[in-house]
């Protein structure tokens, strides 16, 4: 396999990146939901530093994609919105994480080889 063909393989992994997760604000939200069981809007707002409007619109996109589940429940007779990652969202985040790690590992090793060749 030529190095050019190798390069196109690398590019296909970039194209396959889940763009819905790749957006920085949504990536932050997904990463937080990945490491906890569930949280409400306020907790995610405080942790991510997003505004209510921003957070709300990103949540809607993630919910539409089936990555998160937004449920209303009653805590001490008060309505409370709880958000958690769905199984689909968890799998998608793991796949995203894996492809990003692979991509940068390949980039790193190819880049190293290229720079060594240039030095020779």
């Amino acid at each position: 396999m030529t190095s050019r063909e190798n390069g196109s393989d690398d590019l296909s992994s970039i194209v396959d990146i889940d763009k819905l997760i790749h957006e920085p604000a949504r990536l932050t939200v997904m990463a937080h939901l990945y490491v906890i069981e569930s949280a409400d809007f306020l907790f995610l707002k405080q942790q991510t530093g997003l505004t209510w409007g921003n957070l709300s619109s990103h949540m809607s996109k993630l919910e539409d994609a089936g990555y998160i589940k937004i449920e209303k429940e009653f805590v001490d007779k008060k309505p409370h919105t709880v958000i958690q990652l769905t199984e689909k969202g968890r799998t998608a985040f793991q796949a995203y994480r894996g492809s990003m790690i692979n991509m940068f590992d390949l980039e790193g090793s190819n880049g190293d080889r290229r720079s060594k060749r240039r030095k020779k």
């Binding site: 990463a31 906890i36 949280a39 306020l42 907790f43 405080q46 001490d76 309505p79 409370h80």
Partner: protein, 202 residues
């Protein structure tokens, strides 16, 4: 250069932000303080004093609900965190059972009674260190060091056991109140409806 942030670090930061309110310090400090005052008033009332600890843990849960959740939000941590808390509770229960068995063995019981200041200092420091290690709340290492210095020094300087408890409680209480003050300033209570039901425009 950008700081390397891992998922583990995100979880750790979220967990620590939830405990930067100082309520755990205030609750434990208050419990130790009241326990010290109880046994100072009547050394025979140790059981009642120990029972009062449960009241303070109930207070902790109530304060968390009234102070932290309206400001920082509600979160359920993953089972790994819950397991660590279970380990802490199990270690406390085992220490309790071990102390009961130890007191039944007369020579050991005599040693414990004669050196109770050092024993309390070492056990207290071990418990605080375990909590610090498992919970990632590093300030508990400082409390461990404080316990290790305060109680054995009481043995050396012949201070009253109860006074050491009260001093330990007061120091933890001050530390907790300081953290709580900083927390309240950093996270003001969120206004109105967003507390209960956040606006979701679709």
């Amino acid at each position: 250069m950008g700081e390397k942030i891992s998922l583990k670090e995100i979880e750790r930061r979220a967990y620590l932000s939830y405990h930067q309110d100082g309520l755990v310090d205030v609750s434990i400090g208050l419990a130790i303080l009241v326990f010290g005052a109880y046994i100072l008033y009547d050394p025979g009332m140790v059981v009642i004093g120990a029972g009062s600890l449960f009241v303070f843990f109930l207070l902790y849960a109530g304060a968390k609900k009234a102070i932290t959740i309206p400001r920082l939000g509600y979160v359920k941590f993953a089972s790994e965190r819950k397991n660590k808390i279970r380990i802490i509770l199990l270690a406390l229960a085992l220490a309790n059972v071990a102390s009961l068995f130890a007191s039944a063995y007369r020579p050991l019981a005599v040693f414990l009674v004669e050196n109770y200041m050092i024993v309390v200092g070492v056990i207290g420091a071990a418990i605080f260190s375990l909590v610090a290690y498992l919970s990632d709340i590093k300030r508990f290492y400082a409390y461990a060091a404080m316990t290790l210095v305060l109680f054995p020094s009481g043995y050396v300087f012949h201070t009253l056991f109860q006074h050491n408890f009260i001093l330990m409680g007061v120091l933890m209480l001050f530390s907790g109140v300081g953290l709580l003050y900083r927390f309240l300033r950093k996270y003001p209570k969120q206004a109105g409806e967003i507390l209960d039901d956040e606006p979701r425009k679709r």
